[in-house]
Symmetry: C2
Subunit: 235 residues, 2 copies
């Protein structure tokens, strides 16, 4: 597999073409952004943690029956993935109120929901990734009902699986953001990443934040939080 | 039925208690507000048009099998209604992109949807009535699934009914906002009003706006639009 030209550079990752049109190489950066790109910084070692953690979860999820874009870890920052066309949707599952949910609805951070919530945001930086509902998604033709049904089913399953897995490491899964894509043959697969950039992880005993909120909220010891999450998962 | 003290004064209506705890009197004002109360004004004769039009539609909807809060028109501005506890939700049905939808998702005003969309907003002035989805509504315990299922069913039926009725008067129903409540015995009923304050009405031939957008967007002839809508419906 040959790494060719860069196809796309995102906020936290670069994506390269390969000599196989159905495979891409993702390279994780240490760059961090927040608040729709208004806040920028670097979190040393983040790319290595996120690459390893995301691949770990993707492998476990594949075993649990969730199709993902993961193919093979190539180096400490690089991973081979399936080429997919991404649905322009952020899929957010919440177990506990925090972040934009708390702000939007005036619900105290830390409020535990009886059942997890699931929401979609329209991936569009210029519009600020606005919340969107299923009827809007169909009206705007961003996905069809059968695709959205699969995405919902996978998202709830991923929540149950990750919640249980993280609980064993003393971590509470507060919420997380997923992205899904379609491979050349139309299969809906989990794409993007699962990491402290895209999840809220709280220490189950102390409530300490071990995710990108340390960067967003200037809580200090940002690098330490990413390393602590790696230590909890990989010892 | 005796009109007692004022219970509540809203942006466009006053609500009075009566000597029957299960009945209230609504009085329509000429006051108009927009953009979450930032813009204020008076639309002369609006209260009379909205009272008559809303009662007309509520009577027709009752006949079509939709339970409403309507009991009896008392005067040109006053109506007797059932006392209900209002769900803190704005229920918005859209046939054509306009207003907040166009702004939020970058969709050109006038784009016709293949199927109508339905959305909920959390009625909370301090938070700016944010968009909310069903899983959030359950997490925040604003309604239960059986209530929301009825509200959805009624909202789509009301759209079909109003769209057809208005088409006969040369009016295109672009979108509208409903509110629902629960009577003392737990029945879900349509409440609030159906008027140019809560709907977007466009002349089917010219596309001329015949609703509160004339006030919101300073298009002039605001009073004339309300009178024209009354003329189309009542001759």
């Amino acid at each position: 597999m040959k790494k060719l030209d860069m196809m796309y550079e995102g906020k936290a990752k670069k994506v390269y073409r390969t000599d196989d049109p159905e495979r891409l190489i993702v390279e994780y950066k240490d760059d961090a952004t927040a608040f729709n790109g208004e806040k920028r910084g670097t979190i040393s070692g983040k790319g290595v943690v996120n690459n390893r953690m995301s691949n770990h979860f993707m492998r476990l999820l594949e075993e649990a029956g969730i199709p993902t874009h993961y193919v093979q870890e190539l180096s400490d920052r690089e991973t081979l993935v399936k080429a997919v066309s991404i649905f322009p949707l952020e899929v957010i599952v919440r177990n506990i109120a925090a972040g934009s949910f708390s702000k939007r609805y005036g619900v105290k951070e830390g409020t535990v929901f009886k059942k997890p919530t699931l929401e979609f945001c329209y991936k569009n930086d210029a519009l600020g990734d606005p919340l969107i509902n299923e009827s809007h998604i169909y009206a705007m033709e961003l996905a069809v009902p059968s695709e959205l049904a699969l995405i919902r089913e996978y998202a709830y399953k991923i929540n149950s699986f990750l919640k249980a897995t993280l609980q064993q490491c003393g971590i509470t899964l507060v919420d997380f953001k997923l992205e899904f894509g379609k491979t050349a043959d139309g299969t809906v697969v989990l794409a993007d990443e699962i990491s402290p950039d895209t999840c809220r992880f709280w220490d189950a005993k102390t409530g300490e934040k071990l995710d990108k909120d340390r960067f967003r909220q200037d809580l200090g010891n940002v690098e330490g939080a990413y390393q602590e999450m790696a230590r909890r998962l990989f010892g």
